[in-house]
């Protein structure tokens, strides 16, 4: 999982999945991905791309290749060997994320919790047992060791400045119509 040079001789940074937590107590949610040279760089890119506006209190990043994804359709077709890890690798901690609704949304899977499992298929099976309701439409499991979080002690420095930039929020402009402009908008 390092940068590589492509066929054109251009340097390509690896891809990282980004999870954003909007408020204390809400789950981290998958918002998209960024390309970055390492985890620290990925967090900075994630902030610029996915947290230009409130609200965010924490970001997680994980290399895209560390994410093991299974949709309900794939699970139904039995592409997963439930409870039967293919290897004898020791159990390790996985973070489990799921999507539970087809409703219009700007985020994908939500953090459901941690499971311990030997291998990603077993982790999906363990997550389905641990978090059976509501039925998930898609699962992601990510080894906990692959996830890097934005520094908690610096949360204010990371995320508070966006709150002051009210000019990039549409509510700042109110209802606009000819002849009914608000005071102070004649600049």
């Amino acid at each position: 999982m390092t940068a590589h040079s492509d066929a054109r001789g251009d340097t390509q940074w690896p891809r990282w999945e980004v999870f954003k937590q909007d408020t204390e107590g809400s789950p981290h949610r998958a918002v998209g991905s960024v390309h970055a040279a390492d985890a620290e760089h990925a967090l900075l890119m994630a902030r610029s791309v996915y947290a230009r506006r409130p609200a965010a209190v924490s970001l997680w990043v994980a290399p895209s290749e560390s994410v093991y994804a299974r949709t309900a359709e794939q699970l139904q077709e039995g592409t997963v060997v439930a409870d039967a890890p293919a290897t004898t690798e020791p159990a390790r901690r996985y973070l489990a994320f799921r999507k539970t609704s087809h409703r219009r949304a700007m985020t994908f899977v939500d953090f459901a919790g941690e499971v311990s499992a030997a291998g990603p298929d077993a982790a999906v099976a363990a997550a389905r047992r641990a978090f059976p309701e509501p039925p998930a439409l898609a699962w992601w499991v990510v080894p906990a060791a692959a996830v890097t979080a934005s520094p908690e002690a610096e949360a204010e420095a990371w995320f508070e400045p966006a709150k002051g930039k009210t000019y990039k929020q549409q509510a700042e402009y109110g209802t606009l119509a000819a002849g009914r402009r608000r005071k102070g908008q004649t600049r």
């Binding site: 390492d38 990039k168 549409q170």
Partner: protein, 319 residues
């Protein structure tokens, strides 16, 4: 037609199950089965959309250093930064379909990829920044609200996020144009001039008439698009014409009128020769836009290499 071109014959049972899922309003997610033509159309549309956001930074970015006040400058910086971000959301959505971002960017830089025709027009005055926000972003939002209903989950989510942010682009532009339309005679003249140059490109950017849009029926069937180009264009015209007229501006279309039966505004004939010329690379500033993108990409090369070298050294030092 598209399926034949790919030479792919889909399993009828799978295709039926796929279409039933779409009929039920389900979102198709990465990893789910999908027809090859669905995947290919999405890659085409999403990558063109991503390129449009990236090239879309250029017409307005040129005015950042010449903004008339600090407030306008902060707004414009934030707007251009949003467009960079929107390009990233969209490249991400394309990557979920198994394509490589480096390949997509190379296609743009080598002139093999399309992007929105509207960005191949020059921004001649500061009022263009306002008019682009009001009209070009207004048209884009109409299109993107439609695409937010898209059956492909990652594209739909990118659209929802973009629409939430882009409403600010539309409003700051409208606010600016309303200010100038109610301002001094020279401000009014500048706003009117900008409208005259951006009106038709804004109508064209919503794409060819439905009769010249061969992909639309299949895209509608699979709910990639939930409205046709002409339907979205009608929404755009109905929303913006009354507001432009209220502002005391005059829309440069002598055939523009309200259809009494339907209540819709009806625009005159669009110059499709101009549209296709711009799409095929012969617009006023196509070459300039691509040259600016190539320069930015080359100027950034040392940054890509330096960060990769730093990360490689740090990784080597950590056992």
């Amino acid at each position: 037609m598209a399926a034949e071109r790919a030479g792919v014959v889909e399993d009828p049972a799978r295709l039926e199950a796929f279409e039933a899922r779409i009929e039920r309003g389900e979102k198709i997610e990465p990893g789910d089965w999908m027809p090859e033509a669905y995947r290919r159309q999405l890659v085409r549309i999403i990558s063109q959309h991503a390129h449009s956001e990236i090239v879309g930074m250029l017409p307005e970015g040129a005015w950042i250093t010449r903004a008339p006040s600090l407030r306008r400058k902060l707004i414009l910086i934030a707007k251009v930064q949003d467009e960079a971000g929107h390009g990233q959301y969209l490249y991400h959505a394309a990557e979920t379909l198994g394509v490589d971002r480096g390949e997509l960017i190379a296609a743009l830089l080598e002139g093999r990829a399309k992007y929105s025709s509207v960005f191949n027009y020059p921004t001649l005055t500061w009022a263009d920044v306002g008019m682009i926000g009001w009209l070009v972003d207004g048209a884009a939002i109409r299109n993107q609200l439609m695409l937010a209903q898209c059956s492909y989950g990652p594209y739909s989510r990118a659209m929802v996020r973009i629409c939430a942010e882009e409403t600010f682009h539309h409003k700051q532009g409208k606010e600016m144009v309303l200010t100038y339309a109610a301002g001094t005679p020279s401000q009014r003249a500048m706003a009117q001039d900008a409208l005259e140059r951006w009106w038709w490109p804004s109508l064209m950017m919503l794409g060819p008439h439905d009769s010249d849009s061969p992909n639309t029926p299949q895209l509608a069937r699979w709910r990639v698009k939930t409205k046709t180009n002409d339907e979205v264009r009608q929404e755009f015209v109905d929303e913006h014409v009354p507001e432009l007229l209220d502002a005391g501006l005059s829309v440069p279309d002598s055939d523009l009128h309200v259809d009494r039966a339907s209540g819709h505004w009806v625009h005159g004939a669009i110059d499709w020769d101009e549209f296709w010329a711009v799409v095929r690379g012969n617009g006023p500033v196509n070459a300039e836009r691509l040259a600016a993108r190539r320069k930015a990409h080359e100027d950034g090369r040392w940054v890509r290499e330096a960060l990769a070298a730093y990360a490689a050294r740090a990784a080597a030092a950590t056992p």
